[in-house]
């Protein structure tokens, strides 16, 4: 079954005219014969439309800062925001020093009405003192929620004063929820803060070992990062810092010495990737460790970049061994999944990343999209110069960096970089659309109404998304796969992750429950024939 522009148009007729006009620009039928297809993204959410988007605070504290395990993350604001971001992403972490892991904690200034009226700076300062006295964390972050900016609390000043009192870094993030149009604004704010204050402050001036890399935009959901690190370490890479899954402040400080930055989730971390290149001369490589081929391609591209015979050889050896090991298992699952179709609507990168893995199982992605991505995540980075900043994006301060006087070091020559860019995605991202098949639907900021309408029209066999739409989908009789939290499963990245994913998806297809939805008495009598009375 396929939809064309006309069908889409008819579907959107349920909206008021203005809303329809707006939403039309966010949905398209992919058609590679057109030179270019433009999609609108990262614009204001329509009020009253039940969106899946969150706020800047969620992007800043919830996504980027939260996983840094050895920092205490204080949420300055009323209790709700802090509570809701407490342990809700499944970013896992182990800490070498078991005391320097605060991921299971929720710290909130719990502002009350009086704090709103008289200001909450004193309370915040006192809380920092308490936290330092009790936990002795390596550093502290403060994330502001909506009311903070409005009442004029200066968290930057409180942070600075606290730094002087305690001699540790205290970073303030003005990520009030109303900033920008989604989580995306918060990613940017967090990126700026970490780049400005943390990265580059470590004492290392060069990489301690060969093949030193950073892994950016990997949040270790369900242990993804651990599977990726397992593979990288075996090949011979030295991972300096992960941003930010199972990441730490201590490691982040030395991220500037890496030879290459890998970018998994482009949306949430591309600002740091770019700034690292400008400030320290380290290029970044777009990788995708979801899916077997994605993982293989990423590893090979890394080997091409480092251009070391032994490393290349080891890369191929590991790939060959892993593939031989998991291929037969994947084959079995493939038999259960072959020929099915999927919707893949997730965040800002997974909507793209999982398509390859689905395809490896014989599942075709017929609809994909992102919650809070920008046009470049759909159309590729080439469109960036065309994207005009609007009032909302202008509200997010831009951090401009220049080459660091002491630490800037070109990791590869411009000539070689230019050459490599022809073959590998070096400092470049092609976006989601490049990999989609013609006729599939691309949709930005999918909402509740459209979810339902599109499911009815396209009848996918599985819907990969988050918990907010999971139950809508399941009630419609279609299996859902949460790709934010993995339904308590995972890892899904790398080679072992692919197997886990295949197993979970197969389970969704084969669970017998769906067979029972129509009760037998609706179809046939229990006893054949008729029973005559008397």
């Amino acid at each position: 079954m396929a939809l064309d522009e006309k069908d889409l148009d008819a579907m959107l007729n349920a909206y008021p005219a203005k809303v329809k006009k707006n939403r039309k620009k966010h949905i398209l039928v992919h058609d590679s014969s057109q030179a270019r297809q433009e999609i609108e993204a990262n614009t204001r959410t329509i009020p009253g439309i039940i969106t899946n988007r969150g706020c800047a605070y969620a992007g800043c504290k919830g996504v980027v800062l939260g996983p840094l395990k050895d920092m205490v993350h204080i949420v300055h604001g009323p209790i709700g925001c802090a509570y809701y971001a407490w342990g809700t992403r499944r970013n896992k972490a182990k800490a070498e020093d078991s005391k320097q892991n605060y991921l299971n904690y929720c710290f909130s200034t719990d502002m009350q009405e009086s704090d709103i009226v008289f200001g909450g700076e004193k309370k915040l300062a006192k809380m920092i003192d308490d936290v330092v006295a009790t936990f002795h964390p390596n550093a502290i972050t403060i994330s502001a929620t909506c009311p903070v900016g409005l009442i004029g609390d200066d968290i930057g000043a409180v942070a600075k004063a606290a730094e002087q009192r305690h001699g540790i870094q205290v970073l303030g993030f003005n990520c009030e929820g109303y900033k920008g149009v989604s989580q995306s604004a918060g990613h940017h704010i967090a990126n700026n803060g970490l780049m400005d204050k943390v990265i580059g402050s470590g004492e290392l001036t060069e990489a301690p070992e060969k093949f030193a890399i950073n892994l950016l935009g990997e949040y270790n959901i369900g242990g993804d990062g651990w599977e990726i690190e397992r593979i990288l370490q075996e090949i011979g890479y030295h991972v300096i810092a992960v941003m930010t899954g199972d990441g730490s402040y201590a490691a982040l400080k030395n991220a500037h010495v890496a030879e290459l930055n890998l970018v998994q989730c482009h949306r949430s971390i591309n600002y740091i990737a770019e700034m690292l290149e400008t400030k320290y001369g380290t290029p970044w490589l777009k990788v995708n460790f979801i899916g077997i081929q994605g993982t293989i391609d990423s590893l090979r591209n890394m080997a091409i970049y480092f251009d070391d015979p032994a490393l290349t050889q080891k890369t191929e050896a590991v790939i060959a061994r892993e593939v031989a090991r998991i291929e037969p298992i994947m084959e079995q699952y493939k038999r259960l999944c072959e020929g099915k179709t999927a919707f893949c609507f997730v965040g800002g990168s997974r909507g793209h990343h999982y398509q390859g893995l689905f395809a490896e199982l014989g599942v075709k992605t017929v609809l994909a999209g992102y919650e809070f991505a920008h046009r470049d995540d759909y159309e590729g980075r080439d469109v960036i110069p065309e994207i005009k900043p609007d009032a909302d994006s202008k509200n997010i301060p831009n951090l401009t960096v220049t080459p660091d006087e002491k630490l800037f070091k070109l990791k590869i020559s411009p000539e070689r970089a230019a050459k490599l860019k022809q073959t590998i995605p070096l400092s470049n991202y092609q976006g989601l659309m490049a990999e989609m098949t013609d006729g599939s639907i691309v949709v930005d900021d999918l909402n509740h109404f459209e979810t339902e309408a599109l499911i009815k029209a396209l009848k996918p066999d599985i819907f990969a998304s988050g918990i907010k739409d999971k139950y809508v989908v399941q009630k419609m009789g279609i299996p859902a796969k949460q790709l934010h939290s993995y339904d308590y499963s995972g890892p899904y990245a790398g080679f072992n992750g692919a197997v886990n994913f295949a197993a979970d998806v197969s389970m969704a297809f084969t669970t017998p429950t769906w067979n029972y939805t129509t009760p037998p008495w609706k179809n046939q009598p229990l006893l054949a024939g008729t029973i005559e009375s008397n």
Binding site: P47, T134, L150
Partner: protein, 473 residues
């Protein structure tokens, strides 16, 4: 790390959520209703996420999606637009409009904006119920009652007397609501139960799927609440200004039975006694049997339960009722805690503690660090999922009850009201104590009796031996 310190200046691992979160729930229990939260979209997205995880149901809550612009020029335009869109796509019969910290801080007057909106569009007053729920104004429990109270005060209209009974409930599970309804039916009562999210938030899997679920309290029934023969409200811990039952009594003279949640023998007895008084129908034999079975279960388990020392936490109303159940069974509380700032829990429970041979700590505005600091001598915790912190830090097993349950399935179908429900909850408490005991009692026996008296754990010290082993003979 010294976890015994409680940050007086702030909250660490909170035992509460914010007001609008609690206020969503009652609206989910109205027929054909939708909710719109006036603020930035983050709040509603977070709340949907948390509620979906507890109820395992779609939670559709709209937002006016305010942004920086709105914080400067006000959010009126966004709110009205949001209402338009909601009406067009969902055609609800009633819309709850809730505020957030953001809306309140910038001073949005949602009463004015919504009534103006209704006028402009020529719509009925009953279509929109605006509720002021600043996140900093109280916990989710207060938000819940603020919403129920406002629904009643906004919709109730003077009505001729009729034979229905008003039943107003706190945040209990959909399974609990169904049990209350079963009991009401057995007592042959015709009633308006508010809010009734027993199906809307615990929907059967049937085809076809409907966007706005069936079920919920009918708007016309709420309007007619002033004509009811009486109100039964489970709201013993409620402040009067938040109490819909008191409102109906004061404004319309509806007699109020303000009762505890029927958990435990005495609380359920109170409920049935009230129903018998109101209906004139004697408690039927089937219910008397259920009562007898609960008593029988209590006798069977009392020797295990008597070793229980409980930490009971969560929303005040539920905490009160669970304390009663525990007191009836010897699972004496060590710590009683709620995230609410003011609640009469201590006054209400203090007189019932005469048999308890240890001090009982009451904590308001509680967080889990404070709760843990006072629970070193406890061997069972009863409350929502976040209590797992007590298990992780101190090995206190947790019986999950209340809202939210986000690390287990089935929060929506935990049954604990009525004689039958009380028995199920009690069995769970008893079995948790037994499991804890069986986990290590051989070792304790060995350590206590075999290795000799010089190794005997000091029975006067808390934490000697295993949890649950202390007064064991």
């Amino acid at each position: 790390m010294d976890t015994n310190v409680h940050f007086r200046s702030a909250t660490e691992n909170p035992c509460k959520m914010c007001m609008p979160m609690g206020a969503i729930l009652p609206f989910k229990g109205l027929e054909n209703s939708m909710v719109l939260i006036h603020g930035s979209q983050g709040c509603s997205t977070y709340m949907r996420r948390h509620m979906a995880e507890h109820f395992n149901e779609p939670i559709d809550v709209a937002s006016s999606s305010l942004n920086e612009n709105g914080t400067i020029y006000g959010g009126e335009k966004n709110l009205k637009q949001g209402l338009d869109n909601l009406m067009q796509v969902y055609a609800p019969e009633v819309i709850g409009v809730l505020t957030t910290c953001l809306a309140e801080t910038i001073g949005e007057d949602i009463d004015r904006i919504t009534s103006q909106y209704l006028q402009e569009r020529g719509l009925l007053k009953s279509l929109i119920v605006p509720v002021s729920t600043p996140g900093y104004g109280g916990s989710h429990a207060e938000g819940y009652w603020q919403a129920v109270k406002t629904i009643v005060s906004h919709l109730a209209t003077a009505t001729p007397k009729h034979s229905k009974l008003n039943v107003i409930i706190p945040d209990i599970s959909p399974a609990d609501i169904r049990e209350i309804k079963r009991i009401l039916a057995m007592m042959q009562l015709d009633y308006t139960l508010l809010p009734d999210y027993s199906t809307t938030l615990d929907r059967p899997l049937v085809k076809p799927y409907r966007k706005v679920p069936d079920g919920g309290t009918k708007i016309e029934d709420i309007m007619a609440m002033p004509g009811a023969r009486a109100t039964v409200q489970f709201g013993l811990t409620l402040e009067q200004n938040l109490s819909p039952g008191h409102y109906l009594a004061k404004e319309f003279g509806v007699p109020l039975y303000n009762l505890p949640i029927p958990i435990g023998v005495q609380n359920t007895d109170l409920f049935l006694q009230a129903l018998q008084e109101i209906s004139g129908v004697a408690v039927p034999a089937a219910l008397q049997d259920e009562r007898g079975r609960l008593l029988d279960a209590m006798v069977d388990s009392h020797k295990y339960n008597f070793q229980g020392r409980s930490v009971i936490f969560g929303e005040a109303e539920l905490v009160y009722a669970v304390c009663q159940l525990c007191l009836e069974n010897g699972v004496y509380p060590v710590t009683v805690a709620t995230g609410s700032k003011n609640s009469p829990l201590a006054q209400l429970l203090q007189p019932k503690l005469t048999d308890v041979d240890h001090p009982v700590e009451f904590i308001h505005n509680a967080d889990f660090v404070a709760i843990l600091a006072h629970s070193m001598d406890a061997n069972i915790a009863i409350g929502p999922s976040d209590g797992r912190y007590l298990t992780e830090k101190q090995g206190i097993p947790l019986v999950r009850l209340g809202f939210p349950i986000h690390d287990r399935v089935g929060g929506q179908r935990i049954l604990s009201v009525g004689y039958a429900g009380s028995m199920m909850l009690l069995d769970q408490i008893t079995n948790t104590l037994l499991a804890e005991k069986q986990r290590g009692y051989r070792q304790t026996m060995y350590d206590t009796f075999y290795r000799g008296a010089d190794r005997l754990p000091d029975a006067t010290l808390p934490n000697s031996g295993l949890r649950g082993e202390r007064h064991e003979l």
